[in-house]
Symmetry: C2
Subunit: 549 residues, 2 copies
Amino acid sequence: MSNEELTSTIKMARQNGIVQPLLTDLYQITMAYAYWKSGKVNDVAVFDLFFRTNPFQGEFTIFAGLEECLKFLENFHYSDSDIGYLKQTLPDNIEPEFFAYLKDLTCKDIKLCAIEEGSVVFPRVPLLRVEGPLIIAQLLETTLLTLVNFASLMATNAARYRMVAGKTVSLLEFGLRRAQGPDGGLSASKYAYIGGFDGTSNVLAGKMFNIPVRGTHAHSFVTSFSTLDDIHTVTLRHSETQAPYNLLELSTQWRIKVSAIVDISPEEASDGELAALISYAIAFPTGFLALVDTYDVKRSGLLNFCAVALALNDCGYRAVGIRIDSGDLAYLSVLARESFEQIAEAFKLPWFSKLTIVASNDINEETILSLNEQGHKIDCFGIGTHLVTCQRQPALGCVYKLVEINGQPRIKLSQDVGKVTIPGHKEAYRLFGADGHALIDLLQRSSEPAPEVGQKVLCRHPFQESKRAYVIPSKVERLYKECWKDGHVCVKPKPLLEVRERVQSSLRTLRQDIKRNLNPTPYKVAVSDDLYCFIHDLWLQNAPIGELS
Amino acid sequence: MSNEELTSTIKMARQNGIVQPLLTDLYQITMAYAYWKSGKVNDVAVFDLFFRTNPFQGEFTIFAGLEECLKFLENFHYSDSDIGYLKQTLPDNIEPEFFAYLKDLTCKDIKLCAIEEGSVVFPRVPLLRVEGPLIIAQLLETTLLTLVNFASLMATNAARYRMVAGKTVSLLEFGLRRAQGPDGGLSASKYAYIGGFDGTSNVLAGKMFNIPVRGTHAHSFVTSFSTLDDIHTVTLRHSETQAPYNLLELSTQWRIKVSAIVDISPEEASDGELAALISYAIAFPTGFLALVDTYDVKRSGLLNFCAVALALNDCGYRAVGIRIDSGDLAYLSVLARESFEQIAEAFKLPWFSKLTIVASNDINEETILSLNEQGHKIDCFGIGTHLVTCQRQPALGCVYKLVEINGQPRIKLSQDVGKVTIPGHKEAYRLFGADGHALIDLLQRSSEPAPEVGQKVLCRHPFQESKRAYVIPSKVERLYKECWKDGHVCVKPKPLLEVRERVQSSLRTLRQDIKRNLNPTPYKVAVSDDLYCFIHDLWLQNAPIGELS
């Protein structure tokens, strides 16, 4: 093997990592054998992948994970070592021909249609429609669910944060340390970015997905300095003249001047903290963003930061801002902004009033809403645990249901009407009103003609007979695109940035009342009259008549 | 490169996967540069990794993830491509020597001491103590947290399920499809097993960690059959005589006989379901465990299962049991058990009454407690979403704090007393009472002599002056073991099975009231008198004196 081949093999191993056919539930493989054994090798099936309820008590979901699903189809292949493991795991009486069959299995006969990644989607409208040989379509179930469920949940969560934070505030994902495992963290970084975050602290995510990475220093950096004697280097050269300046001297002088303006005694401020901030500023004169709550924001951190920022200014550098990681974020951000404004005025440095204020302590949607009400002065939120673990609801419940086999529709009944599946091979359309907003998603049998602009369409609730409405769409969007066919990806996956833009443009088509945080209006999902009758005929055929006793 | 080397390189890439030095927060690397730039290359630090609150409103936590941490230390190395990425990501003015420094960085000068993996652990007692050069010790923070946080959370969650389910019930992890990404799923399978589960549905986890895998079939298998005509193969050979039997004929005959006993009309039962179960039984005659709720457990599934199980018995095979995935699990399990007992008696097949009943619908701790109260007859729970996402609390809040630098203690103060760190290089001991139960965990300064059996020890609350107690331990366990030193793992990590046993033996040392689900008693964590005084002297030295205004 050449070095190039080697590199690409290793790269493949790294890229695909654990997303491989054995990343599945055992019952997919036992079912595959039972299908194979009972002569169903040539059966052709249609499966729908969909969810039944929007997460986070909201009324919309962002669909994500499609690119990963396509990669999985592309690389689907049982290795010799996989087959060896299955042989030793399944009962002894499995016919050896089955393993030969598995060994040769690929996704070349599978067709996958999907809604565009990054779109807003709704309950019961399938996100993926998988068609092809029953056995292989069944074998894809668990992995596709794993890839779509968390990706969509994260993207939705991030989009919700973006909505409550507003467009002008920066959002950074800081959650790696609390994520559900290393890849839980990586996926979180990726899909938070897609959902509308501006960057991540996760360096590997930055490298792998080309996401902006952000970060400065932690409390431990500050506590590692005790006194001003702990500073080893005090010299910084001017950004233009290259003249050497003593940043320690400048900073201590500025601390006295600033303390008079903000009315805080310089004796109260920690010298260890000042030493740490000076050291950090010397290392990053162009990126000086300092954590100011190690001891006390008001009495120490803010004063020390302003002193160093003004000293940096003497050397031709503009500081970036501060991060506050504890305490009353609304109050402290207002206090910091006021101090910045006082200093801007006192020293005729207008840019000082615009310094960035980052806040980052256990923030969630509700915290942001509450901070908004209190009139905070924060420019950027760093969000960890609640974002990356989707603490409010840590799983999306996508399911993968058989809806047709050999051309015959299949229905899964349930005493819970919400769990009855919509049978058959279907198309989905989004109908838009004259104002450009999405009105309704409509599921039809694939044999029906598409709804037409300007034509009256009868839209029915799938299960409640009396709920019907006529809609005259001003625009009709066919939701499914063929993504995988004949062993190839049909539509090249879009770059991350475009998927990220798709999320925002798709969200803009939703009315505000559907997106609001409190008691949002449900978006309507309907079936055509034809599909309604089809469902209910099939239901009656399959439901046993009970007996009261 | 030889084929062998190639294989091992690819294996390494696969194994380590994304657990690599760049799986970290950017601020670790910017801090590293600021430390480096300010002459702190030879500073020596001690960091403690600990949590502040037990998860799930409980009073204990299981420590897990240590083996992964050691693997991470062993493989810690920035690749050329990593360095390239950092060069392009960090500001232009970073000195090139810093990248050369990073390139050569390894963990050879790090010493890591840890509590034994699988032990019960408590708030504030460090799980890991990391000592060594400040820069490298700091660079390990995020990755160590990522590896310990979710592992420990999952193991704790699993151990809690095991406690409420009791020792005799089997517990299977079925959560892959709802897990937080592919590796979220793999980690969940691994640490659920460590915490006390008996197996997983996740095939890759089975292969990678040698965990028993379990699974039979899904609803889609059942709905893929419509009528008895859908059966392609009806023949099963007798397990001993090899004589051919027609399983379809036998099953339909048995269905009539059974229907008389359990008083259900055979016309009500689904023929498609019977066809599916017969096909499954022919494929897995030794492992016939059937999902019985696709249509109606009572009117269809149970009857069809018993018919096929009795037909299998004619062929010399014993069925395994049923799985119920919806409805009233307590009622349906009792009904199923009664039917099994009636059949056992009617046909003189005592083993039939002992058939396994698996239940698997959205189960959590509370469901199991409620089922226990109702007197269920379930032998095995399959648990997914709530287990693998730790829905009740999806993150453990371990932190990593600097406690000493160059021999000088460091304290992180906070207005929230619970967030004040315990400074200095410490040892931890667990003191046991005469009955073998753990009484208290005691933190001491490392310079103090260890507590001795039979000797009175003064144990103090770390922050509340008046809370003190004398303890005379009957056994003293030193909690930290050296795990990594001089670039090598010191204690070979135990096999998964031994860690799993450690969890149960460690839990047995806790009093029942500490482990109970409702309002458990807190386990005590104390500091020695010496450490108490040390903390409070340092606190006073570092806390600024406020001014009321």
